[in-house]
Symmetry: C2
């Protein structure tokens, strides 16, 4: 029996896609990567995943796992050879168990993040991972790429939220590493190794994840600051005063919000006068179980102190849920506004927070000197030291000129980040996009350690080959 | 030149110990394990560690890294062959860098935990790892064993507190993985793999660790509860009401506190009447940046509600720092009281919190049926699902009878833990002590994955051989 017939008898013909049916799985959502595959298979059980891997291992057929296909680095798109089998986790979407006393949930890899958030919220628990693609990305993809998002400041990346995994390894065996233990020191941390390995060490089929009490209230403020150094001082002020009640601290360069309000005229900056010209805005979220009034007063006092200390020039505390949503909408519309503004260049960088003021000042100056007219539109999660340092075209710097300068800008930004001890991929992963960068910035020693792990777990190199390393 | 001469010319004769000078390094502090070694070396720099490893690698000489030598599983004691070289990190004790804006500290492996805690406290920051041995254990040992302690509930184990590592690998190369990044998705998580590997994959020489704002105030309460199921309900109540302000939730069986107050007559239970007969006591710590009065009122309200709900029968909120210390002293004296009460059997177990009431009830019943008179004295970190399920001799069950039953009890407890999805080593590690248990409870598949990692990182098996796997 040939491979496809085998798959059809294992999964049913409806779950072995070829031709047009397979097409959506062979390109990424941005249309940057285009691949080919023998077929796309949609297993419904972990055992079926194991069966698929065993079959592929037999004939050394490459396997590309795919969740919601929302990645930004081509990690879920097969190469052009047409040899690969894409394993979609879309039918592995069940919540397997919920333990309110242990504050854990066990869920299959194909469950959509937002579905899981809502499942937990309905049961009075918070699953805190939150990111722009949450309506379509899956837990498996989140795990494979060690997703971050806007609540990392308080709750960590998904690696820190993961207590256990179920993984199909390259030999088609199932590792049942599920379980809701907060302490377990029985050997090497396999779990953390699979998280963030982008499907190159095993296929994650389920996970046990940490839950938290649902915050009883939130307070959200949009703040016009006196520059990035002031943002860092404000962050320290808030952390010192309220610690873990600070659950988000996002920053947006003026250029980002200008673009949002021009691309989406229904959106408005809630400031007037000179405040609209502030170089950096910050979006703050406090949440917790304290009473809302108490936290609101506390926020007002802190922002008053920050105003006096010259860290901020204006502040707007949301007085309704609608206004909270409007503030977050400004933040969440940046990516789309940038896409509408013309094809740009994305950098997903992290730095020690103390280095960020220096970085944004020097990088901005160097870019505008070398590429006059270039639009620099950074934004991101200051609380985690993570900036989406994006640049775009402008009337003075056309889209095609920008794309011709792509590689020079890419290297210029990443070299500066590396020189300051930063990361060239904070939360998007490596995939196909940044394999070259990895070689540029990692030492031979570190790459050798990674390759030795890959060889140990996947000696035939059938798991998502051509990704990461 | 022979090995010792080489070491002497590299480190100076004073830092190559043999004979009596070496003796303290060749046994663990409890005197359970006794080993031998060619010598003990005390490098003062990472480069010297690398030089030592390179020399040993050349002749395939086993290396046993050792920090404060406070471990409980023999992980830092060489075997009896006398072939090994013990590498003590005692001279690698410097804080290398402190970054208040990034909330990080970079420290060498040999720094004593308490020294680091105080260094950070003096600079208005909290390094939250806290455990009984903190006055002598080192950061390197904490990292090698993924130390937990009493603040894991809020801050996680040291793996979650670690942002970067510097490691000497088996080939004598230095991996500089230091850095204060909270998000970094550039390849496999080597850091998490080295943490908890007990010196079998590399020698950790330095780390960059997360810091937190220093809590402005704490509130501590000792509570007499109506049993373990009530403890779990109380834990959920507190987490729901105050979330991350709950920084410790310790439980102690009545037998533990009886033993403490009888072994240390200067210590007293702050209860009278029938409350002193409660089966389980809980020690609660709230901390944060809110005002002390507010949190105190909040604690009183919650404990009042818990009393009404029948979860607790009595509660005592500390009204002074002295009383706080007295409550914690009761908790921290348990280990010593048990040691004075006769040689017992320690089990360092973790379970899903929801399974703990069932476990303690059934295990207690089964043990007292099978071994009548045995003293069962469990205590631990309920917030993390971690119990030190210790048993000891009693007037009705003599010490030698207990030791003759050691293996049966060990297996009985661990089998029950395993059946409920728990861990047989929550925070002490595997070392020499639990290698056999690892084989009993891990699947062949999981052990094979671990062995493949060991082989990839240490193909000659020179790094702490005979430990973990």
């Amino acid at each position: 029996m040939d491979l496809l017939s085998n798959f059809r008898s294992m999964l049913g013909a409806a779950n072995v896609l070829t031709g047009n049916d397979a097409a959506p799985y062979l390109t990424d959502w941005r249309g940057v990567y285009q691949g080919a595959a023998q077929c796309v298979v949609r297993p419904a059980t972990t055992e079926q995943v194991a069966g698929i891997v065993a079959l592929c291992a037999n004939s050394e057929i490459p396997i590309v796992p795919q969740g919601g296909n929302t990645g930004l680095v081509g990690g879920a798109t097969p190469d052009a050879s047409g040899k690969a089998v894409v394993v979609s986790t879309s039918r592995l979407s069940r919540v397997r168990g919920f333990d309110p006393e242990n504050n854990t949930v066990t869920v299959q890899a194909g469950c959509v993040l937002q579905t899981l958030q809502e499942y937990c919220r309905d049961r009075d628990r918070l699953f805190p991972l939150s990111l722009a693609a949450e309506g379509s990305c899956t837990i498996g993809g989140n795990l494979a790429s060690n997703a971050g998002g806007s609540q990392v400041l308080r709750y960590g990346t998904i690696r820190e939220l993961t207590l256990g995994l179920e993984v199909v390894t390259a030999d088609g065996e199932i590792w049942n590493g599920l379980g809701g233990l907060r302490k377990d020191n029985t050997g090497y941390d396999l779990k953390s190794l699979f998280v963030g390995s982008e499907g190159t060490l095993g296929i994650i089929t389920a996970a046990t994840l940490k839950l938290f009490p649902l915050p009883r209230m939130t307070q959200t403020a949009l703040v016009a600051t006196n520059g990035m150094a002031s943002c860092v001082q404000l962050l320290i002020r808030l952390q010192t005063q309220i610690g873990s009640s600070l659950t988000a601290f996002e920053v947006m360069a003026n250029e980002c919000l200008k673009l949002v309000t021009s691309q989406f005229p229904q959106q408005h900056l809630p400031f007037d006068g000179s405040s609209v010209d502030a170089s950096w805005f910050a979006l703050l979220e406090l949440s917790g179980s304290q009473d809302r009034e108490g936290l609101g007063e506390c926020l007002e006092t802190m922002l008053g102190d920050a105003l006096e200390a010259g860290e901020i020039c204006d502040a707007n505390i949301a007085t309704s849920v609608e206004q909270e949503r409007a503030f977050w909408n400004l933040r969440e519309s940046i990516t789309l506004a940038q896409a509408k503004g013309g094809k740009g260049i994305k950098h997903d960088i992290a730095l020690p927070i103390s280095k960020i003021p220096e970085f944004v000042e020097e990088m901005g100056r160097n870019l505008s000197t070398t590429f006059p007219g270039l639009s620099v539109m950074p934004f991101g999660h200051l609380g985690d030291g993570n900036l989406h340092y994006n640049v775009g075209p402008s009337p003075r710097f056309a889209e095609d000129a920008l794309q011709r300068s792509h590689d020079r800008i890419y290297v210029m930004v990443h070299d500066a980040v590396h020189a300051l001890g930063g990361s060239i991929s904070a939360e998007h992963g490596i995939g196909q996009l940044k394999r070259g960068e990895l070689k540029r910035y990692k030492t031979a020693h570190e790459l050798a350690m990674m390759r030795s792990i890959k060889a140990a777990f996947d000696p035939m190199n059938i798991l998502n080959p051509g990704k990461v390393i």
